[in-house]
């Protein structure tokens, strides 16, 4: 016997201290956390820095990122990109990239799905 059972779930998700970061993301603004001990800048923000410090402050990045590696296919287009002013890289979704672009700018995303989406900058 096989039963088809449908389960619908509607979550009310809260994000605590990360709410600020996600809210800015929907506006196309890149907020990062800067460690006040070693000046490391993380985006997406890391609450505890690699140096062990949890004392940090929010800073605003330009939102421009250089693409280091990208992938595309049936599952969409994604990249590892390094945002200006950031110490590490991020996984980003690519929108409207044709294949030759090497940089992008953070673009606004939906309030229901705050995402790190880049649109191309031709340099």
């Amino acid at each position: 016997m096989i039963i088809n059972k449908k389960l619908e779930l509607t979550y009310n998700l809260s994000f605590g201290v990360m709410s600020k970061w996600l809210t800015e993301l929907t506006k196309g603004q890149a907020l990062a956390l800067k460690c006040l001990n070693c000046n490391n800048v993380s985006f997406p923000p890391q609450k505890v820095c690699g140096c062990g410090s949890k004392i940090s402050s929010w800073i605003k990045l330009s939102g421009v990122a250089k693409i280091l590696s990208k992938t595309s296919g049936q599952d969409g287009s994604y990249a590892i990109a390094k945002f200006e002013g950031c110490s590490s890289s991020s996984v980003v979704r690519l929108k409207n990239f044709k294949g030759l672009e090497t940089a992008g700018k953070l673009t606004p995303s939906s309030m229901s799905n705050p995402s790190i989406i880049l649109t191309p900058i031709i340099r």
């Binding site: 997406p44 595309s72 599952d75």
Partner: protein, 384 residues
């Protein structure tokens, strides 16, 4: 000392016979228990592993499984660590024995990854197994994240598309000799290179399948006269890396695996070069190369691969079961199944066409969750 006194894997495939994961668990447990020459009353601890309640629609699975298996008044718990769930469950069993809190532990891994939900739904759920607030919101798939990692590894090492195709062929060829394997397929390079691009450089045939299945082992602190040749687990190690690929120091490397292997080798007092064969976590073709490199199984993995060192008849056979790519991947069962496979080979009980006539002394089972995010490895020793 910890002995693997019983071991078994069900078939890994897409079940179409109306059977349930609870049937597969019963099948694998009863076979392991019989092999261990013990009675169910001898089992004092039940550790189960599965990746997600979404697949089974059963929260707190260890309790219903204990009931199904007739295990009462035992310690029953579930271990979860993404793709590494099964191997971490094995580790938990070993720790229970080494801490003298258990004598005989049943470790059972399972997942109905193929038949209970549509594959598109499973794919979507998997995207929440990375950071749900970043990667999850971006709707990035596991394949895309693995693809970003392997691209960097390929740039750094010279690994190319032909190597990905050849490894796929090797693993699926091995699977053809494994009666319990999911994808018993003979591929050509052309077929692989012309299969659809899921996330470059990964094509459909470079990916492991979603499978149904279960696997089990019985771990014991001593062996009876009937189980004198039961293999032992002499080293375990586990470590993590940052979930966010971009935040890692080495995006193309499985750094967590290096550390896990170092810990396991230290515990076992064994060098990576002493490992005689290995079952490694090949969720994608490239991941097997990343694993071999990180585990230190070769000083020049690419040359060794191209020279056939890791083939079934090579000096260091890897994934003789077919690996995840050929044998299949019911996630929670994978790590337990790899350990069971190592135990079978080390006791001379593996499938006829895959069993080595000269039994190696040491074997390695290597598993990870995420894109090498949490790694767990075990080193087994033959007592034949």
């Amino acid at each position: 000392m910890v002995f693997v006194t019983g071991y078994h894997l069900t078939e890994f495939n897409r079940r179409k016979d109306g059977s349930s994961y609870r049937d597969w668990i019963s099948e694998t447990f009863e076979a392991s228990l019989e092999m261990s020459c013990m009675d169910r009353k001898d089992i004092d601890t039940l550790i189960v592993s599965s990746e997600s309640d979404f697949f089974t629609l059963q929260l707190n699975p260890s309790t219903v499984i204990a009931d199904d298996l007739g295990l009462y008044n035992v310690e029953a718990l579930r271990v979860e660590g993404g793709g590494a769930s099964g191997q971490l469950a094995v580790h938990q069993g070993i720790k229970s024995i080494l801490s003298n809190t258990s004598e005989n532990v049943a470790v059972i891994g399972f997942d109905p990854s193929a038949s209970n939900l549509p594959s598109e739904t499973v794919k979507k759920l998997y995207s929440y197994s990375f950071d749900a607030w970043t990667d999850g919101m971006n709707e990035v798939t596991a394949t895309s994240l693995y693809a970003l990692s392997i691209q960097i590894f390929m740039d750094e090492t010279g690994l190319d598309e032909n190597d990905l195709a050849n490894l796929t062929i090797n693993n699926r060829n091995n699977a053809c000799l494994n009666p319990g394997a999911h994808l018993k397929l003979k591929h050509t390079q052309e077929e692989i290179i012309n299969s659809p691009v899921i996330s470059s450089p990964y094509r459909r045939l470079h990916c492991s399948p979603l499978s149904d299945g279960a696997a089990s082992i019985i771990l014991s602190n001593k062996i009876s006269s009937k189980r004198k040749t039961a293999p032992s687990i002499i080293g375990i190690g586990s470590a993590n890396d940052k979930v966010n690929l971009g935040a890692r120091d080495e995006i193309g490397e499985f750094t967590s695996k290096k550390l896990a292997m170092k810990k396991a080798c230290q515990m076992a007092q064994v060098l990576p070069s002493e490992i005689g064969f290995a079952e490694v976590y090949d969720a994608y073709a490239g991941a097997q190369f990343q694993a071999i490199n990180a585990l230190g199984l070769s000083n020049n993995f690419l040359k060794d691969f191209r020279d056939g060192v890791f083939n079934l008849d090579g000096k260091l056979p890897i994934n003789i079961s077919g690996g995840l790519m050929g044998q299949g991947a019911p996630v929670g069962a994978t790590g337990v199944g790899q350990t069971a496979t190592c135990a079978m080979v080390l006791e001379g009980n593996y499938h006829d066409k895959l069993q080595f006539s000269l039994i190696p002394k040491f074997a390695l089972a290597d598993t990870h969750g995420g894109v090498g995010t949490n790694a767990a490895v075990s080193i087994l020793k033959s007592n034949v």
